[in-house]
């Protein structure tokens, strides 16, 4: 089969390179940003194309992997020569071979409206959002947007390698960020959410806004959180920032190889209520894809089952080095870097979508069983240390729970602890999960979870 990547493959053969892969990424972004009720900036389109490549050199048991990337076709030959050179400099005793997998998993990742008509889609959404917020203002409410971002992405990826693999995928994202301010003439308060979805229809204005406006308004009357050990219910967004960088990190085969994980097969690591899967195949989840960034099919892998650690997740390299099979967890990742440049990133052994199995309690039941506790709607910046799982984060938007009732809005004060202690103190999980992104981590499918004996530092 000839592909449009053949011309690039010829360059590797011309450079006498036997083992390589080449990753081509085209990203198209369209965006409107708001300043108050006004349009601040229109960005249409923002387009980028990039090539990332890996070249292998072998010498007995020694293997070198050279990485290089560029953004112009005219630079490809230099880029290939660089990768070839790098692969000769960093040879080490390790195993690697490019995947030959022809199989793809089937999963939905594209919103046709974003792919085919992004400008009109954004304009319609912006109009709808502003109309809703203007109606709210005209009804006497003091809630108003201070800024907003309405953005679409189309990622188009092609991946080929010297082992005969040739794959393509398309993915869409919709990003909404909005700061809603409320004032009573003296005090000011804000709710500032950020959300990624695959489809624009997953963030319907009329479904989102009532809750967001309520959160902004309630925060005006917020008090600082109390101090002590108490029940804390975290929403899916907060769980994304808590669980993905800790459980996801320690579940990676890479950490097993480096002796950096506290997980072991068969070890009890959480309460019996908790089951977590790496689910790379849930339709429209944020990290779902037919194949990972090395070409291995994504899949579902049980990580924790009823509190017991079951399986590590693997990219190609760590699977080979530990005599396991890839679980489709080779993801191009770089901290604090823009994912539109992911062709430049190295492949990292990371989770796809961390999926937490729902429990059997309704949300109301979860709350009603709490004597003294806190319901978290948004932390300031939950960023646990991946090794220790320790964190300490400010409460931005939350509610006090007293005797089974949601009462006083809260802002300020800290929630602190270790995520690995939290997951051993689960007393309830709600019965429905949703696809969410966090502030610091990207993708989770999670319900609400109630933790006990959590340290809250307030007044």
């Amino acid at each position: 089969m000839r592909t449009d990547m053949d011309k690039y493959q010829r360059l590797f053969r011309k450079a006498k390179i036997a083992e390589y892969d080449i990753y081509r990424l085209k990203v198209t972004i369209n965006e409107v940003q708001l300043r108050g009720f006004d349009v601040d900036i229109v960005r249409e389109p923002v387009e980028t194309l990039g090539f990332g490549m890996r070249v292998l050199s072998r010498e007995g048991e020694l293997v070198g992997i050279g990485l290089s990337s560029c953004s112009q076709e005219s630079e490809l030959e230099t880029c290939i020569e660089n990768a070839k050179l790098f692969s000769t400099l960093n040879k080490q005793k390790m195993k690697y071979e490019f995947t030959q997998s022809k199989r793809d998993s089937s999963v939905a990742t594209v919103d046709k409206a974003i792919r085919d008509n992004p400008v009109e889609t954004i304009n319609d959404y912006t109009r709808s959002l502003l109309d809703y917020l203007k109606d709210e203002a005209q009804s006497g409410s003091s809630v108003k947007p201070t800024f907003g971002k309405i953005r679409t992405y189309l990622f188009e990826t092609a991946l080929e390698n010297s082992a005969g693999l040739a794959k393509k995928k398309a993915e869409t994202y919709f990003y909404l960020e909005l700061a809603l301010k409320v004032s009573d003439g003296v005090k000011l308060a804000e709710f500032w959410p950020r959300k990624y979805k695959r489809r624009i229809s997953d963030l319907k204005v009329e479904e989102l806004m009532p809750h967001w406006i309520k959160l902004a308004k309630d925060t005006l009357d917020a008090k600082m959180a109390p101090a002590g050990q108490m029940s804390v219910i975290m929403n899916p967004e907060s769980l994304c920032d808590a669980i993905v960088p800790t459980v996801g990190f320690h579940a990676a085969g890479e950490q097993k190889l480096k002796n950096q994980t506290v997980f072991d097969k068969g070890k009890v690591v959480a309460s019996e209520e908790l089951s977590i899967m790496d689910d790379g195949l849930l339709d429209y989840a944020l990290m779902s894809a037919p194949f990972d960034d090395e070409g291995n099919p994504q899949q579902q892998t049980s990580i924790i089952n009823k509190g017991v650690f079951e399986n590590f997740i693997y990219d190609q390299k760590h699977a080979l080095m530990l005599n396991e099979k890839s679980t489709g967890n080779g993801i191009k990742t770089q901290p604090s870097a823009n994912p539109v440049n992911k062709h430049t990133f190295a492949v990292v052994n990371n989770p796809t979508n961390i999926s937490i199995k729902p429990g059997n309690l309704s949300f109301d039941q979860l709350v009603s069983e709490v004597k003294d506790g806190v319901l978290i709607e948004q932390f300031s910046w939950l960023y646990p240390d991946p090794f220790s799982s320790g964190f300490s984060t400010e409460i931005r938007n939350a509610y006090l729970i007293k005797n089974g009732e949601i009462t006083q809005p809260l802002k300020g004060g800290m929630v602190a602890g270790k995520v690995f202690d939290l997951v051993k103190n689960i007393s309830g999980i709600s019965n429905s999960a949703r696809i969410e992104s966090g502030a610091t981590a990207f993708s989770i499918v999670a319900p609400y979870i109630r933790f006990e004996n959590v340290t809250v530092a307030g007044k």
């Binding site: 990337s69 880029c79 790098f86 960093n90 700061a179 480096k258 220790s388 931005r396 802002k411 610091t440």
Partner: protein, 466 residues
């Protein structure tokens, strides 16, 4: 100066854009952005060498109170002229009427000087340095089970042109080392890190003994294995220069970015000229700090870099501005408009933000503290421009007992209100240090910044442990 043919082509293209845009929009500008990096990373399993490259152009037009922008990786005349033609289409719906103030025409072609251009250092030599650092760090203790070392050198070349006739070029080179050892004892795994980065060339690694530098986080990670959980509550704290910088930047500086003011979203909007901090506090944002990781020649709207005093002896002096905010608020631009790359928008941003040094030694700061907490090694912070809340976290600390740092403590977060914290500063150290890092606007658009200062002693600070 070494302008290549690509840049010459960019000059030619930019000079032709006026033919499409002049007179049809109120203002336009174009920014060519070329970024090339060399990354060498090593840990116990692998070594990685990579040289990512990005290049493209942002074209912006201002009309009817709205910015219209388009970006492309295709840097050729046809593409950019077509982009420009699309920008002159009438705005679908005019926004608020705003007139951008005119600025003087600038012509600059400057490369920030480096003694040792990293692009001229052989890869083998860089790799050897990374291996030396890895070895030195790992040799500190048998409980160090892994060390991640990452060398990064970056060359950013930008060409700016606008409808006022400015035509400017700058080259900025940065060099940075990250050392991240991991210690393990039984089931306890702890890590710490250190970074050393400058807007300089490879001579950055000659200003400190990088092997000795690498031992510091290893000793710290070992100490963290036995660290206690910090107490929670109100304490007198002493923070190191890096934590001071994080407070200046995250907790305070973001509220001074004037885009938040024109959005009516800054708790500092009405406080210019007012006392917002102890008189011992002077806070500066300077894009001309020699070697500062956030330094440059001009910002991404073509305004020459400068030093901006934000707080002088406790009094708030002013905000950080771009062209739009300075026009709306009647101020001068402060050279604070920055983009992450040609793929992101211009935002008002900081550069190198720091507390000016005081006159006290660390011993003098600690001496009167009977029972307090010391916070060192800033790990991150988060802004709260409207609420004025604070969240800055250190990866480590110590109890202070009778004027002496004693028991090691694990991760500690500062919380409360920024202005309360700043007003409670009662001592500023004279040992000035600035760190290197990246800063996001919210949770995206990451740019290189520096921050720092001297040690600060702060009364009644609210802390909690992780």
């Amino acid at each position: 100066m070494s302008r290549n043919s690509q840049v010459d082509q960019v000059y030619d293209i930019f000079e032709s854009l006026g033919g499409v845009l002049d007179g049809k929009v109120e203002y336009w500008d174009a920014l060519y952005d070329s970024q090339s990096q060399c990354i060498i990373a090593k840990d116990k399993v692998e070594e990685q060498i990579s040289t990512p490259k990005l290049a493209g152009v942002i074209l912006r037009a201002f009309k009817d109170g709205i910015w219209f922008s388009s970006s492309s990786y295709q840097v050729d005349k046809k593409t950019l002229v077509d982009m420009a033609k699309k920008l002159v289409k009438p705005a679908p719906k005019p926004g608020t009427k705003i007139k951008l103030q005119a600025l003087k025409t600038e012509k600059t072609d400057q490369e920030l000087p480096v003694k040792k251009d990293p692009t001229k250092i052989p890869l083998e030599d860089k790799l050897e340095d990374v291996r030396r650092v890895y070895k030195a760090c790992g040799a500190v203790d048998k409980r160090i089970i892994n060390v991640r070392v990452r060398h990064l050198d970056t060359r950013i070349e930008r060409v700016f042109a606008n409808s006022e006739g400015s035509l400017m070029r700058q080259v900025v080179i940065r060099t940075r080392l990250l050392v991240y050892p991991v210690a393990r004892e039984g089931d306890k795994v702890r890590a710490d890190f250190i970074t050393w980065g400058k807007t300089k060339g490879y001579e950055t690694y000659e200003e400190r003994d990088i092997e000795e530098l690498a031992k510091e986080p290893a000793k710290s990670a070992i100490e963290l294995l036995g660290a206690k959980t910090p107490p929670s509550g109100e304490f007198t704290v002493v923070v190191d220069g890096y934590m001071a910088g994080t407070i200046a930047h995250e907790s305070f500086g973001h509220g001074l970015e004037a885009d938040q003011v024109i959005r009516d979203r800054s708790y500092l909007s009405s406080l210019v000229g007012e006392k917002v901090a102890s008189k011992q506090a002077t806070i500066i944002d300077s894009s001309v700090l020699p070697g500062g990781y956030g330094s440059y020649v001009f910002d991404d709207e073509g305004v020459l870099a400068k030093e901006n005093v934000l707080v002088e002896n406790g009094i708030l002096k002013g905000f950080l501005h771009d062209r739009l905010t300075s026009s709306i608020l009647g101020s001068e631009p402060t050279s604070s408009s920055r983009v992450e790359s040609f793929l992101t928008r211009h935002n008002v941003r900081m550069s190198n933000t720091y507390f000016a040094p005081g006159d006290m030694t660390l011993e003098e700061l600690l001496e009167p503290v009977k029972y307090g907490v010391m916070l060192i090694h800033a790990s991150f912070g988060m802004e709260d421009p409207l609420g004025g809340g604070i969240q800055c976290t250190s990866s480590k600390g110590y109890m202070i007992e009778n004027g002496v740092a004693t028991t090691p403590l694990s991760e500690i977060a500062l919380s409360g209100k920024v202005l309360d914290l700043l007003k409670n500063i009662d001592g500023v150290g004279k040992e000035f240090e600035t760190g290197s890092g990246t800063c996001g606007k919210g949770s995206e658009d990451f740019i290189p910044v520096g921050d720092g200062g001297g040690h600060l002693r702060i009364k009644k600070a609210i802390i909690s442990g992780g």
